[in-house]
């Protein structure tokens, strides 16, 4: 019972919710990318690889330039570049999008370590100083609010950016003509094409956006949360983001709720010393919860109708 009491007490601390939000944002960025890509009809299981690519090139750039903003830009672009391979292969060449996604993940894992070995030998990549990391941003005044100050106004700069992007993606997808077009292309591409919408351009844009967002997540991971690159450092986060996207029924805010739930699990573990559950068992939770959602126990989760279908102009 004391363990339960400790957890309840923990749930009332600002530290926990501060950590939850940060952990959730790390998942939210690639999840938003997944939402955009799949809403346009391109299945994307490659966020893991795009995020890893961003993490690696962000660290390389930061070590070389000692400018965290340029390094973040490099990370974002690297993620976008990786995504453009997925775009070309699956939109232009109409390859199976799942195979292409798997290939991206294998390619990113192989390429990053290959380049680590090439540039830094078999040793460590090297660690970045505090001044080369993405900084925390405290809002003067607001950050002194009890509880809320710590949770919402003493966070890493990427957290604020991600929350803005969350609103932005929601508004664009559901309140603008562009969003309507993206969704039309994902639901019924030939009808959209007939209506004069360029299916290919929209899908390219959506897939590359998912890479840019995943690249930013990679930067947050490697040069924000951590200060170096370690092989395979994303450790399945891109797949948890995929889970969050499905959990959230392909909507930005739904995905965010899922990310918060997954992030809370991570934060509870990191911030408590009384419950002794294996961290490895806790790490299963996002995947198990998603399986439960998929089993239809908490309502169906249905993807866009043309998700995964390559579009051939003039077909059907």
């Amino acid at each position: 019972m004391t363990a339960l009491g400790d957890v309840l007490h923990l749930l009332l601390t600002a530290n926990l919710w501060q950590a939850t939000l940060a952990a959730a944002v790390l998942l939210l960025l690639p999840a938003l990318g997944g939402v955009i890509s799949e809403r346009s009809g391109v299945v994307n299981i490659a966020m893991e690889g795009m995020m890893l690519t961003g993490a690696f090139f962000g660290v390389v750039a930061d070590l070389a330039l000692h400018n965290v903003w340029l390094a973040t830009a490099v990370a974002i672009l690297a993620g976008g570049l990786m995504a453009s391979i997925h775009a070309v292969v699956s939109i232009q060449f109409r390859a199976d999008q799942i195979v292409s996604g798997i290939a991206i993940n294998i390619f990113a894992a192989g390429l990053t370590v290959f380049l680590v070995n090439r540039i830094y030998g078999l040793q460590d990549v090297g660690h970045l100083g505090q001044s080369d990391l993405l900084p925390n941003l405290d809002f003067p005044g607001l950050d002194q609010l009890p509880f809320l100050g710590k949770v919402f106004f003493q966070q890493n700069v990427v957290v604020y950016v991600a929350l803005i992007l969350l609103v932005l993606v929601h508004v664009v997808l559901f309140r603008t003509r562009l969003g309507l077009r993206i969704r039309a292309v994902g639901e019924h591409p030939s009808a959209a094409d007939t209506a004069g919408i360029n299916v290919f351009v929209l899908r390219y844009g959506a897939v590359i956006s998912s890479g840019l967002l995943s690249g930013l997540a990679g930067a947050f991971l490697a040069i924000g949360v951590s200060n170096t690159f370690v092989p395979n450092m994303t450790d399945g986060r891109g797949y948890i983001a995929l889970a969050a996207m499905i959990f959230g029924k392909w909507t930005p805010f739904g995905a965010f709720v899922a990310c918060l739930i997954f992030g809370l699990g991570e934060a509870v573990y990191a911030n408590n010393s009384t419950i002794h559950i294996s961290p490895y068992l806790l790490s299963m939770l996002p995947y198990l919860l998603t399986l439960i959602v998929l089993a239809g126990i908490v309502g169906r989760s249905t993807p866009p109708a043309a998700d995964g279908l390559p579009y051939v102009a003039g077909s059907e």
Partner: protein
């Protein structure tokens, strides 16, 4: 066509090696020696290299079959990795708990336990697909990670841990060990090395048998007919009286049993315990490349497994001898996947007249992928 994809991948790989400042010929010579024991210059023992390659290719054949069979039913099993880990866990658990039983009982027991666990793992995905339509790609990805974290839990602080501070499990009883091809003897000299370094084991026969069973099942049984019918068209199969749901579940169960067998063979034949090397294992993903490259046929799968087994074995030698990162192998593997999936070779042939490419206006149409969760994923080329 698959051969062309491999060649194209190696050409692009050579470009990547060159651009990053190494000699591609040195790299590929290292791969050739490490993978096939050919053209070794640094005093590597060719026989040992071949032995290592065979050890690598055994699980690739079995998991390759586990991906190829659902392909025929229009199902994309990305979960061979998780199913294999489930098989490893079950095999080790039984092998540890009943470690004193004689081999005649224990060995079949651990193999069957592995198959059952793999079948259970894949069966979850099959059941969810058949009942609520949950896409098997997504569910098998989730199940992969559940298995991976379960493995970490079990051998780090969990009930199978050897002792605190280690990240490996207890060792399975000797009765559960698959025999090696050569005696595990330090004094017996085979081709200049002690016989004990050659780890080739009799699991190879089981893997080849799995490939043969796969082919027999697919082409000589009514279940195989049903699997292929469902893969061609669920609607048509339904009109022909085939229960699509039942076929989906049974297909996934059998595929999982193959993957689970791969895991059990690996533990019984090579490791004899669970270790942290399987935290980052990629066999189940390599299996996808094996199944695609092997065009879903038993012979093709064995040949593709030889290629990827040789690549993985060769990567280590290339890194040691030529100083080029063994991760080049993963780059090559990804390039092969891109190349097969996008049919680059076909596109190139179309662009260059006189290469035998048909002057068709459109590239050969890939089988249409169904929308997620309602229809099946893209089946592989329907070549027997």
């Amino acid at each position: 066509m698959p051969l062309g994809s491999v060649v194209l991948a190696f050409v692009i790989g050579a470009v990547i090696v060159t651009v990053t400042g190494d000699n591609p010929f040195t790299a590929y010579a290292g791969l050739l020696c490490g993978g096939l024991g050919i053209a070794c210059t640094e005093g590597e023992n060719p026989a040992l290299q071949i032995s290592t390659t065979i050890v690598y290719l055994i699980p690739l054949i079995t998991t390759g079959v586990a991906v190829a069979l659902p392909f025929r039913a229009g199902l994309f099993n990305i979960g061979a990795e998780g199913q294999m880990l489930a098989g490893m866990i079950a095999c080790t658990t039984i092998g540890v708990v009943f470690k004193d039983l004689p081999a005649v009982i224990l060995l079949p027991m651990v193999l069957v336990a592995g198959m059952a666990a793999g079948a259970f793992w894949a069966g979850i995905a099959g059941l969810l697909k058949a009942t609520v339509g949950a896409h098997e790609v997504v569910t098998t990805i989730m199940l992969n990670y559940v298995a991976q974290w379960l493995l970490r839990f079990l051998i780090i602080g969990g009930p199978l841990q050897l002792r605190s501070g280690t990240s490996k499990s207890l060792t399975i009883g000797q009765g559960a060990w698959l025999a090696r091809v050569l005696p595990n003897d330090n004094n017996l000299d085979i081709l200049g090395l002690p016989a004990s370094v050659y780890r080739v084991h009799t699991g190879l026969l089981l893997a080849l048998a799995a490939a043969a069973i796969f082919a027999f099942l697919l082409w000589r049984t009514s279940l195989g007919y049903e699997i292929r019918a469902v893969g061609q068209s669920q609607k048509a199969a339904r009109y022909a009286g085939v229960s699509v749901r039942r076929t989906i579940i049974v297909t996934m169960l059998i595929a999982g049993a193959f993957s689970g067998l791969a895991g059990a063979i690996q533990i019984a034949g090579v490791d004899h315990n669970l270790t942290d090397i399987y935290f980052t294992d990629t066999t189940g993903f390599d299996a996808i490349a094996v199944a695609l490259l092997g065009l879903g046929s038993a012979v093709g799968i064995v040949l593709a497994a030889v290629l990827f087994g040789a690549l993985h074995a060769g990567g280590a030698v290339m890194q040691a001898d030529a100083g080029i990162s063994g991760n080049l192998v993963f780059i090559l593997q990804a390039l092969i996947l891109f190349s097969i999936a996008a049919n680059f070779v076909g596109q190139i042939r179309r662009l260059i007249p006189g290469l035998g490419g048909a002057p068709a206006a459109l590239p050969p149409e890939a089988p249409p992928a169904g929308p997620m969760m309602t229809e099946a994923a893209a089946p592989p080329p329907q070549t027997p």
